[in-house]
């Protein structure tokens, strides 16, 4: 297991390097100049100096390797410094956003908590809804509950989130006035009143994302439980006179959850991508909103860094899913 993990970690490095190169080159083809916001009255030599200050006049490859060094070496050093109060980085140049002239990782650090609260809660709730639905659908296959569950799942990943989101806003925020339409990022939970306010503003975005995630996971759970219900060990357990509840919830469930766990792990990074849309609907000031904002003003360092972080998440969770599979299922041996 350990050698497998190490081997996978080592092969992840060239993959990530290649992805970073692809992202960097693609983004770098941008026709928009970082100075498009600067007034035309600024003389050309000053413009040239501004470009030099940003490092935007260097050749592509120089900027790529500088960015790589900053991403993998300097930024982690700053991270350690911030955590432990040391001074390893010694003022080395960080990845700076062209738009706000602030380190990109500082922007990400400011935006990430909002995304994590909403997306994390939504994913958790989605899994918690999906598991019982999937298990019961499989247990009572072709019953009305199963049919309804199938339709729910089909509708869940067919109806786009930007439609369900706006529909929920229309019904619950505009017509009924129960929840706010806009997510207030400055809200701090200090007492009971602010806590209920937080719950109210999280309700709609979390519902949208949770329903979307629950749809897919409930399908996987259903098919996995179905497969296990037909196994010999289930018949043995029943023949021993074991209670139905114990057979399903203990024997079948434990075995069926193995593939579901990997699906849940694999789905996490895509949820971050999907949250871009949800953040846009509810005006959540999260990492997706930061990406869209950066794309619209050709803030290349931010776009490159945020996109690459998404890629790192995907590769990382693929690895985690593989390892989890090996740990949970003793029949699977990678070595």
């Amino acid at each position: 297991m350990l050698t497998f993990t190490l081997r996978r970690l080592l092969t992840a490095i060239p993959t990530l390097l290649l992805i970073s190169l692809v992202i960097f080159l693609l983004v770098d083809l941008a026709p928009g100049s970082p100075l498009s916001d600067v007034p035309l009255t600024v003389p050309p030599d000053v413009r040239q100096k501004m470009l030099e200050a940003m490092g935007a006049d260097q050749p592509v490859m120089v900027r790529y390797f500088l960015w790589l060094k900053q991403f993998f070496w300097i930024e982690p050093l700053y991270g350690i410094d911030a955590l432990l109060g040391t001074d390893f980085a010694q003022g080395a140049q960080r990845i700076i956003s062209w738009q706000s002239k602030v380190p990109v990782f500082q922007i990400i650090g400011e935006r990430l908590p909002q995304t994590l609260t909403v997306v994390g809660t939504a994913y958790l709730i989605g899994v918690l809804i999906a598991l019982p639905i999937g298990i019961y659908s499989a247990y009572r296959q072709y019953s009305w509950f199963d049919q309804a569950g199938t339709f729910f799942a089909m509708a869940g990943f067919s109806v786009p989130t930007f439609f369900t989101g706006n529909l929920l806003i229309l019904i619950f925020a505009v017509n009924l006035g129960w929840f706010p339409t806009i997510y207030d990022t400055n809200l701090e939970v200090v007492d009971w009143a602010s806590f209920t306010k937080m719950l109210a503003q999280m309700a709609l975005p979390v519902t949208v994302l949770a329903l979307f995630n629950a749809a897919e996971i409930s399908r996987y759970t259903r098919s996995s439980v179905l497969e296990n219900l037909g196994q010999d060990y289930v018949r043995t357990a029943r023949a021993k006179g074991m209670g139905e509840q114990k057979v399903v919830l203990k024997h079948v469930l434990r075995n069926s959850l193995i593939p579901v766990v990997t699906v849940v792990a694999l789905g996490l990074p895509t949820v971050f991508g999907g949250a871009i849309v949800t953040e846009q609907i509810f005006k959540i000031n999260g990492i997706g909103a930061a990406l869209i904002g950066a794309i619209n003003v050709s803030d290349l360092p931010t776009v490159q860094t945020v996109t690459f972080i998404f890629a790192v998440l995907i590769v990382m969770f693929n690895l985690i899913a593989d390892i989890l599979y090996g740990i949970l299922d003793p029949r699977i041996r990678y070595d």
């Binding site: 993959t15 290649l18 509708a155 067919s158 786009p160 930007f162 439609f163 529909l167 990074p269 590769v315």
Partner: protein, 307 residues
């Protein structure tokens, strides 16, 4: 001899079997009728409902009177903020949405099948092609799509004109980022097919690889490709509407359903129907395409057929 064979063929060919099984899937049949209805609405509708979807009254006073009308006989779905007929715009938008879905799917299936067959058939390039597929699967696709469209929109629109340019760009971008699943499925099928006796027979009478692929391999991977293609249409329509929703889709005089929805959001409080109609159309289309894909998968699987 030939006559009886023709007669049996008439009774039930291989596609007849598939159709018979498909008809048993109630959800898929309902979906097929629904999608057919939507297609008729978009394709034949404009021949009956002959209002130009981009017609804006040139007389300012008249134009102001035409704006934001509710449902009436003259405009069953009302008019938008520039006095354009919403029913005509829905039909027109549906045409483009369906076209984007179909063409993007064709691009994705073409790339996916080519990569899958090449990787499965020629062992020498298998590793390389599958690493490429893995690389694409590890890319954050939505952010990259956004970046691609944002970067190349103006350039491509300058060369091919805003309508054709945007259409081609979006279709190619979606196709280029959604071929991986098809490639994996096809490769798996080809790997299994390659070991079968009929391929060995074809090879032993000296059939060149190119012809083995076109005559023996491709017809046999048709069913997984068909299923992948159906699901691909749904995915492409969703992706396009997400791009439109984020403001990186089609221009307003060449709208898709996604673009119409995006335009409606600004005034969702006063005119909610402008969001609901396009949203409903997208959801119903994608839902029926997914159901049809599900039914096709069951119908094309000989292990399930006949139950």
């Amino acid at each position: 001899m030939t006559e009886t064979a023709v007669q049996i063929e008439k009774v039930r060919g291989p596609w007849g079997d598939v159709w018979a099984q498909f008809r048993k899937h109630k959800g898929a049949m309902t979906a097929l009728f629904l999608l057919g209805g939507l297609a008729v609405f978009c394709l034949i509708g404009p021949l009956v409902w002959r209002i130009d979807p981009n017609f804006i009254e040139s007389d300012t006073v008249k134009m102001f009177k035409m704006r934001n009308q509710g449902p009436s006989l003259a405009h069953p779905l009302g008019t938008d903020q520039l006095g354009r007929d919403m029913l005509a715009r829905m039909m027109f938008g549906g045409r483009i949405s369906l076209a984007v879905g179909t063409v993007a799917m064709l691009v994705a299936i073409f790339i996916g099948t080519t990569v899958g067959v090449m990787a499965g058939f020629f062992r020498r390039i298998d590793g390389l092609l599958m690493r490429l597929t893995d690389l694409f699967l590890a890319l954050p696709l939505l952010p990259l799509l956004l970046v691609m469209i944002f970067l190349f929109r103006d350039t491509v629109a300058g060369i091919l004109g805003p309508r054709l340019g945007t259409f081609l760009l979006i279709v190619m971008a979606i196709g280029l980022t959604s071929w991986m699943q098809a490639a994996r499925v096809v490769r798996g099928e080809v790997l299994a097919l390659k070991e079968r006796e009929f391929v060995l027979a074809a090879r032993s009478i000296g059939t060149p690889s190119r012809r083995i692929i076109t005559r023996h391999i491709l017809p046999n991977v048709l069913s997984p490709v068909l299923v992948a293609a159906t699901l691909g249409i749904a995915a492409a329509i969703i992706t396009e509407s997400v791009l439109s929703f984020l403001g990186l889709g089609f221009p307003p005089d060449f709208p898709t359903w996604g673009r119409l929805l995006y335009d409606g959001i600004a005034e969702i409080r006063t005119y909610p129907e402008r969001v609901i109609w396009p949203g409903l159309a997208i959801s119903l289309t994608v839902l029926s395409v997914n159901y049809i894909g599900d039914g096709l998968r069951d119908a094309l699987d000989p292990r399930i057929r006949g139950r």
